[in-house]
């Protein structure tokens, strides 16, 4: 059973998933599962902090707090366009690791 005393996001939530949303965007879904975890993340996980994690300007980051699903969703322009010479992760699925490992 997860306790709220933990502060690493990956230990609190059910799953953090990232995926391309087309070649120019990546989207990260935080499945909180529990309402208390969702409420805590909504209060303490700032958009600025997530933007800094992915090295984008905060106004480039779209954020959706979805209470019905207990999900927080972030979408950002891909740091490198999918498949370009400097892309290291074609499907964008490893971006999730950074948020999963973030400590509140």
């Amino acid at each position: 059973m997860t306790t709220l005393s933990t502060s690493r996001i990956g230990d609190l939530v059910l799953k953090v998933r990232s995926k391309n949303a087309g070649p120019f965007w990546v989207t990260i879904d935080v499945f909180c599962d529990r309402r208390d975890v969702f409420d805590r993340l909504v209060q303490t996980l700032t958009t600025e902090r997530v933007a800094a994690l992915y090295k984008v300007a905060p106004d480039q980051l779209k954020r959706f707090d979805i209470p019905d699903l207990r999900v927080i969703k972030f979408s950002l322009p891909r740091p490198v366009v999918q498949g370009s010479a400097s892309d290291r992760d074609m499907h964008g699925a490893q971006y999730a690791a950074l948020l999963e490992e973030l400590t509140l």
């Binding site: 949303a21 120019f24 989207t27 999918q82 498949g83 010479a85 400097s86 074609m90």
Partner: protein, 453 residues
């Protein structure tokens, strides 16, 4: 009117539950729809105009769907045929279909919907101010694109169905268009149609058993009902509503040709432990625009892989590649007369920051480090030549001048691999159309059974 759409899988080529497909056919669907592509695996498919899935896997699955179609006596539609939906992959899919029709003894009317865009059409639209960038859009440069496609919507699929097609092989379409077409023709509620189509486009990904593939959606004049057909698979209000998050930058809005879907007011209700009813989604009509995708060759690549197992080098891998890169740039300048602006040379440290690069914020003490050298040049010959030039140094270069020459692990011989062309996505734009068919064309062919001589 209720319209029943059978979706065998999220994409042709990944497999589906054949028993569940049988169950679906027995439920008398009005149409069978499957997606054939995506940009998700990168720009190669579009750039080269080739399918990413094997012909064998495609043919084996398409055979089962052609048999299901014959049994159900309803149209079968594939969208974005051959991964990228260029004219070349539509024809590739058509060849497979004709081959199967002969093997199965089927007589068919096949409609091919072509989505490739001639450069001149896009250039004219650009000059006329009918092309709008979507953020973040690259600058439009059309002269060197190998392929451009426009994403067809429901209207173009409807036109292909109206031609009396048993099978529609569509080029690039939106993920939802093939599923939405028939219910819209029959007057089902547009909000429910587009929402249901989005939920169904990945097959059973909206259920508790994502790999089972097959699902059924019933559309009507107030919404839709979704039901997975594999044994034990269930749709729940949560599994269905959560699917709007998937590969979608905005979970409440979905843009399509001619408007957008707004699911802010959608209500999800469990009808029983497997089926979910959805109502309250809204379709908001807008200008008729189609999204464009394009790709170009951005260079040619050669790669080299060395493994540093020596603890001294594994620990100092970044320092080693920084020093090595400087040395190699000077060698390449001296021996090939190329400056670093003329080519790309990048070493990625697998075991250090291979996946995330500059975003990586963790450090560790790796047992070994894979050094993946990626060379990008103006021709394959040039990339290969740089690869051969750097090969001995990647194998032996020392961390400092006063140490013995090391020898790292090369996993194969030759150490370099020519990768061919590197493609890049070159458009993130929409093009306005007065008539939905003005950027698409349909070709109808009759396949007759062969009469034995």
């Amino acid at each position: 009117m209720t319209t029943r759409v059978l979706v065998p899988s999220g994409v042709l080529g990944l497999g589906f539950d054949r028993k569940a497909l049988e169950r679906g056919v027995a439920m008398s669907p009005d149409i069978i729809c499957i997606d054939g592509g995506s940009t998700d695996s990168g720009p190669f498919s579009l750039g080269a105009g080739q399918s990413k899935y094997s012909r064998a896997a495609t043919k084996s699955e398409w055979r089962a769907l052609m048999q299901a179609r014959a049994q159900a006596g309803v149209p079968l539609v594939i969208g974005t045929a051959g991964t990228c939906g260029t004219d070349s992959t539509v024809d590739w899919m058509y060849d497979i279909t004709v081959e199967l029709a002969r093997e199965l003894g089927q007589e068919l009317r096949i409609a091919r919907l072509y989505s490739s865009q001639p450069m001149a059409r896009v250039a004219d639209a650009l000059a006329a101010g009918r092309i709008t960038p979507l953020p973040p859009a690259p600058e439009v440069r059309l002269d060197d694109l190998t392929n451009i496609v426009a994403l067809a919507g429901a209207e173009q699929i409807q036109a292909a169905l109206a031609a009396g097609a048993d099978i529609v092989i569509a080029g690039r379409t939106t993920d939802t268009a093939t599923i939405a077409a028939l219910p819209l023709t029959r007057g089902d509620a547009a909000g429910g149609v587009w929402h249901g189509a989005k939920i169904a486009e990945c097959g059973a990904l909206c259920s508790t058993n994502p790999t089972s593939g097959v699902i059924m959606v019933d559309f009507d004049d107030t919404g839709f009902t979704v039901e997975p057909l594999a044994e034990g698979a269930r749709c729940t209000p949560h599994s269905v509503s959560a699917h709007m998050l998937y590969e979608n930058s905005d979970p409440f809005r979905l843009f399509e040709p001619g408007g957008y879907l707004d699911v802010t007011g959608a209500r999800y209700t469990a009808l029983d432990d497997r089926r979910v009813r959805v109502e309250g989604s809204v379709w908001v009509p807008g200008p008729y625009t189609v999204k464009l995708e394009g790709a170009r060759i951005a260079g040619y690549q050669t790669t080299i892989l060395a493994i540093l197992r020596d603890a001294h080098y594994a620990r100092n891998a970044q320092k080693w590649v920084d020093r090595l890169t400087g040395f190699l740039q000077s060698e390449i300048r001296t021996r090939m007369d190329l400056s670093p602006q003329d080519y790309g040379l990048e070493f990625r440290l697998i075991g250090v920051n291979g996946a995330l690069g500059v975003l990586e914020n963790r450090t560790g003490d790796p047992v070994e480090v894979g050094v993946l050298g990626v060379i990008t040049a103006r021709s394959q010959a040039e990339a290969a030549e740089i690869g051969k030039l750097i090969n001995p140094f990647v194998l032996h270069y020392p961390l400092t001048d006063d140490e013995e020459l090391p020898t790292f692990a090369f996993p194969y011989s030759p150490a370099t691999t020519d990768r061919g062309a590197l493609y890049e996505f070159a458009l993130n734009h929409v093009m306005a159309l007065d008539d939905p068919m003005s950027a698409f064309r349909i070709e109808v062919t009759e396949i007759r059974a062969e009469v034995p001589a």
